[in-house]
Symmetry: C2
Subunit: 344 residues, 2 copies
């Protein structure tokens, strides 16, 4: 053992031959404490580096001022932005964010939730893992509900689960992206889709599909290929698209990463962007403005999602009696850049 026991209130009390109550009051500037006593105790406390044991306080007050943020990944710009948004609102209110990364793994998600509850976290922001979603697991959420711990879904959600949600309007974002490509003259639009089952993937896919429908363009199944959101995962699918007898003249990527991967393959084939193939991504990640060519994309307000989710949490906290379930859907914004600007 190498860690010296932290100084406690009792230690200080012994030193001054007074009771712990007095020390506690002195440290908290209680008015009923003699000015000299207060000063002496405070000085001594500082000198020996006393630090209040918040664990004991948490136990006493049943308040931990800690919130869990459970997300599948933190590698991408979007998640980071969400966390920043949460932080912006909640940090000033004294909350500590406990960020848990599930790596798209159900078991880890379950374990984190259980741990957060055991640690008496006062609220949980959850973006469910892909595995959880795929398998339709929800039992691990029951205990959160049972304990009436505020639970806010961010981004990914269960369609039929009774909680508050803050999500982005992926559907209309995708719709607008595809519509943009169509109105500018692209006719054969492929979609590099996200993993099946995830709300984000499916909503964007639906936006793509419905937009084509609206413009009475038949959907060619061979133009829709899955990816896993990562840049590498776009390479083979894009090659397959270009090798088709009737290759697409535009590609809508489920996110910027995938779009950037696609661009790379297209340029390698000697094709021009946007001349031969138009590209649109999704996210408006910082890099998208500086790729070559710069990437047309759909802005996804991560920071705002974080801030709205915070608001939902605070509403639940202050809500009288039963929870008020709100469902916030933030709009997206099409950012038009070079990759979709056909020189006509």
């Amino acid at each position: 053992m190498n860690s010296s026991r932290p100084v406690t209130i009792k230690d200080i009390a012994r030193r001054f031959r007074c009771s712990p109550s007095t020390v506690s009051r002195a440290l908290n500037d209680h008015p009923a404490i003699n000015e000299d006593t207060r000063k002496n105790i405070q000085e001594y406390a500082k000198e020996v580096g006393y630090q209040r044991n918040e664990v004991s306080l948490s136990l006493l007050n049943k308040k931990t001022a800690t919130l869990g943020v459970v997300v599948p990944t933190i590698g991408n710009y979007y998640e980071t932005a969400v966390i920043e948004g949460l932080h912006t609102i909640l940090q000033p209110l004294g909350y500590t964010l406990n960020i848990c990364v599930t790596n798209e793994n159900y078991l880890l998600e379950k374990e984190y939730l259980s741990k957060l509850l055991s640690n008496r976290t006062e609220g949980i922001f959850l973006s469910v893992s892909q595995e959880t979603y795929d398998a339709g697991y929800y039992e691990h959420l029951e205990s959160v509900i049972q304990r009436k711990t505020p639970l806010i879904f961010i981004d990914r959600e269960y369609e039929d689960f009774e909680t508050s949600r803050a999500t982005v309007d992926d559907y209309h974002g995708a719709f607008a992206a595809v519509e943009h490509l169509l109105t500018i003259g692209y006719k054969n639009i492929a979609h590099l889709k996200g993993p099946n089952g995830l709300t984000v993937s499916e909503q964007r896919f639906k936006g793509y599909r419905d937009c084509l429908k609206k413009y009475e363009i038949p959907i060619r199944e061979e133009l829709i290929i899955n990816t896993n959101f990562k840049v590498e995962s776009a390479i083979v699918p894009t090659k397959r698209l270009l090798d088709l007898d009737f290759p697409p003249d535009a590609i809508f990527g489920v996110n910027d990463q995938v779009a950037i991967g696609a661009m790379r393959v297209i340029l390698d084939r000697g094709l021009k962007i946007p001349g031969d193939v138009g590209i649109v991504g999704f996210d408006n990640s910082p890099i998208s403005a500086y790729t070559y060519p710069s990437l047309t994309t759909v802005h996804r307000p991560g920071r705002k999602i974080g801030m709205e989710a915070s608001r939902l949490f605070l509403n639940q906290l202050n809500g009288s009696g039963d929870f008020v379930h709100e469902n916030i859907v933030l709009p997206t914004e099409l950012i038009i850049r070079e990759s979709s600007l056909r020189i006509s």
Copy 2:
């Protein structure tokens, strides 16, 4: 108030008209408990969703199984990789990582450290914020030292501070990058530098400078311009470089972001990469392999850093008596891609 009080051991004890001790032992499969009693209690506990209050246990055992990870940002690939590495080692050992993002802000860093100590965190991984570093603050670390909480520096460090560190050999990475450019035939190499004062910036700069010295190339001050690591911050500096009477024929960026920003400006001017200007970045972020042209870069083993830092922490924990201070420096690797391959 809307949160129903969680079920406690006392509640269960009341229900079974037995003492809390019995319940506690029953739940923990203590051998001295009657088989039936154990079964009944465990069943009931499950039924009512009992969850052990870890806060009280933390207080009792003076163990929280929580570690703080204090980093300036989490937006970039590197930090994410480090966290993943920490996670890989420490999660299986039962530790929870409390990730704190300082946004390069000293006050926030200070507050986080104080909070972590108050919450009796058992160890802290710290990458100091830029502000902290610039101003040379260190008082906020004193209390960590005083409390003998294991403190591991990751990445950024104080030169003269007595703790364990896991860092990347930025110096030789930069040196190798510049040497590569020189041996391939580039003569006028500019450097888009990181913010002053940060170890990362300065080490890479030193690598750049010393390599030029070795090859007896005079250092031109006008070829060294500061950025803030972000892609946007490379735009104006690169323009300035290209506008020089004797513009550089290669640019070494302090990281991939900056290099990508530079590439964009260069391509916009109608110059060829790597024909007219060679580019090397730093980090080997996933995107760097798929930019156009793909980016030569220096691999920075973030995951490994996280794993090594974990090891350092565990060593300190188990270390007898005084701390053992270790200083791990991991090597980098030059990844040669298109942006520096001059067609000769």
